[in-house]
């Protein structure tokens, strides 16, 4: 048998049909659904008298629109958001799919809920009408975002029409330095490859620095594969993966667990597998980074200065100038002198318990800089409960952070959590696009530890100075 990559193996195991021209019909093991990209798909089913083929493999949770303030039980104020969440309530009920409503403690960001509940398992195909579905690749699952037409296609047929992507290996060798985290890895990789560098590829992340990461950290890395242009990023499962999955509500038990485990242990890229592209970074060379512009590829170590447009070439010259203007930055200013107004810790990139622990470690006994708005939005109700149990919530509240309920919140500001024009935010989310966190809002992406450090000083800060 010819050697295969992990991606090849999962692909082959899910092939329902292959047409002569190479178009494949791929079986989908898990379909995650949220309120924003699904209403038109359910409507399509109704209009054509179709049903959900595999409701037991379909999981829905509202996350993008939900308020995260403590009084949210009183309902959603914005009428459109309300309609969208109510539509999901109704669709989940009508079509009999698994559902975690806003009132359920297990509710949270779909990409946090899936793994937490054991829906996401190694070797699976996982899709969702959301580009950050790549997150689930951390389990060695082939997971990617789809559009609403494809959501409807998966609901109706439990399959997806696909062409195979190319294989790309991203290896992070060696150890990370203190203060450097999974977020710094994933941002640095995008800084290296650019936001289109992964287009057409499925990335497998490997190397010692990746193996050393916890499952939470691996999810952070895979989450941003899409920001590098790759539809999916994955990491071969290992003992840490199995340990994370074991005992989760929807993970297999008993003999099925043993059978699953036996298969999962075959899920790795063969030594002599073919890679269409290879990128290698040394773990030791990665610094705590921040973004300065309006594309996730605009990444620099916190010790650097704001660049100037003339540092770039081609179409990037204009893009960089536009970014600098939008971000209100002057070339040559040390990044660590850039003052911020707001700190947002949360999102499917960094809203897990480990992220909150990392932030709490920096914030313990410290205060948020006067005049700063700071909020922490846990990724799920269960993350929130655990953080309270571990005493992290007390640290945040004492420091002056708002301690919110679970949801996407200011990651894309579809709910009331938004930046005002010109407001500058240190954010742990994944996109710094113009207007992403609110019209005119300025976003700097970074790790939770870096965001916590910025909250204390009021400007972008090298977290290593506070350690």
């Amino acid at each position: 048998m010819s050697p295969k990559t992990l991606y090849d193996k999962i692909w082959d195991a899910h092939m329902v049909h292959q047409a002569e021209d190479g178009t494949c019909l791929l079986y989908i093991d898990r379909h995650l659904v949220h309120e924003v990209t699904s209403p038109q798909a359910f409507e399509g089913l109704r209009m054509t008298n179709r049903t959900v083929r595999a409701p037991d493999k379909t999981i829905a949770v509202p996350d993008h629109n939900v308020p995260t303030t403590l009084d949210r039980a009183k309902g959603i104020e914005n009428p459109e958001s309300k309609i969208q969440v109510e539509a999901l309530d109704k669709n989940a009920k009508d079509f009999g799919i698994h559902y975690y409503p806003v009132s359920d403690v297990r509710q949270g960001i779909v990409h946090i809920v899936g793994p937490e509940q054991g829906w996401t398992l190694p070797g699976m195909t996982v899709v969702c009408g959301d580009s950050h579905t790549a997150t689930h690749g951390a389990f060695g699952a082939l997971a990617h975002g789809i559009g609403t037409s494809e959501v409807e296609h998966v609901l109706a047929t439990q399959t997806l029409i696909q062409r195979k992507g190319k294989n790309m290996k991203v290896e992070i060798t060696g150890k990370l330095a203190p203060g450097v985290t999974a977020k710094d890895i994933t941002l640095s990789v995008i800084g290296e490859t650019g936001t289109a560098g992964g287009t057409g590829y499925v990335i497998e992340y490997c190397g010692e620095a990746i193996r050393d990461l916890s499952m939470e950290g691996r999810m952070t890395v895979c989450n941003m594969a899409i920001e590098g242009g790759a539809r999916a990023g994955l990491i071969a499962p290992d003992e840490k993966t199995f340990e994370y999955c074991m005992g989760r509500p929807h993970a297999p038990k008993g003999a099925q667990w043993e059978a699953a485990l036996a298969w999962w242990k075959t899920l790795f890229s063969d030594d002599d597998a073919h890679w269409d592209k290879v990128v290698t970074l040394k773990g030791e060379d990665i610094a705590p980074v921040v973004t300065w512009g309006t594309s996730p590829e605009d990444v620099l170590p916190i010790t650097a200065n704001v660049p100037s447009a003339s540092d770039f070439s081609g179409g990037k010259v204009d893009a960089a100038q536009r970014s600098l203007d939008y971000m209100g930055l002057t070339s040559g200013t040390p990044l660590s002198e850039v003052k911020i107004d707001t700190v947002f810790i949360g999102s499917c990139t960094n809203g897990r318990i480990e992220d909150l622990r990392a932030a709490a470690a920096i914030l313990k006994g410290k205060k948020v800089k006067d005049g700063l708005r700071a909020m922490i939005v846990p990724g799920s109700g269960l993350v929130r409960a655990q953080a309270e149990e571990e005493g992290l919530a007390d640290i945040f509240i004492e420091a002056g952070f708002e301690w919110r309920l679970a949801g996407c919140s200011m990651c894309l500001a579809m709910n009331p959590d938004q930046l005002s024009p010109g407001e500058r935010c240190a954010a742990t989310s994944n996109r710094n696009f113009e207007g992403r966190q609110g019209r005119g809002g300025r976003t700097h992406l970074m790790s939770p530890a870096m965001a916590a450090a910025a909250a204390i000083t009021g400007h972008l800060t090298d977290v290593r100075d506070l350690m």
Partner: protein, 201 residues
């Protein structure tokens, strides 16, 4: 789905790289539960000021381009989120073809599901079309999916590639779901095996 065979129209130039889905249709318009009506909000934050007034400099607000049916743009068009609202808005505005050096994967796929033809071309060819588009309403560009060619007003012809299956669906206006349902027995068989090989799924 609406068919796409041939189109002759005005092309709007947007020489920017990394035009992301948040620019194409900002999130406040994702709250709809319908597919239609998003055209007025296409490129909303670039097209209107904070008071909702048109920004005259923005290309689609210029008289020459208000009826553009083709968009010529920079590298990595449609990067960002999976929101199909992006192609819905483009289509609703009246644009049926986007030409760029490269496209983000999910956006590229979403176009085909909505009767929009995305055409990736080498940078130097996009440059030619960008220059052509800058001539305004006098320069109509012709896009022919059957022959896979683009022809400028002065007769320059550029060939493009497109996946055969996607081309077929677009030409015929086919519904993917219907096509896949014809393979129901293959899906049944796969699920039958699955209950033995990976029963935990």
């Amino acid at each position: 789905m609406e068919k796409f065979e041939k189109l002759s129209g005005i092309a709007a130039p947007m020489p920017m790289i990394n035009i992301d889905t948040d620019m194409i249709i900002p999130k406040q318009f994702l709250k709809t539960i319908k597919r239609s009506g998003l055209g007025v909000n296409l490129f909303d934050e670039m097209r209107y000021d904070a008071d909702g007034k048109e920004i005259p400099d923005f290309v689609l607000n210029k008289p020459a381009y208000r009826n553009a049916e083709i968009l010529v743009a920079g590298d990595n068009f449609g990067c960002g989120s999976s929101r199909e609202h992006a192609p819905w808005a483009i289509k609703d505005f009246g644009i049926r073809c986007v030409i760029a050096p490269s496209f983000a994967d999910i956006f590229y796929n979403n176009c085909f599901k909505n009767g929009i033809l995305p055409v990736p071309l080498p940078q130097d060819q996009v440059d030619i079309l960008m220059e052509e588009a800058q001539k305004g309403a006098n320069a109509r560009i012709e896009v022919d999916l059957v022959s896979q060619t683009i022809t400028t007003s002065d007769g320059t012809t550029i060939a493009f590639e497109v996946d055969a299956f996607k081309k077929h669906c677009l030409l015929e206006g086919l519904d993917d779901i219907g096509l896949t349902m014809e393979k129901a027995s293959a899906i049944d068989a796969f699920e039958g095996n699955l209950s033995v090989s990976r029963p935990w799924v």
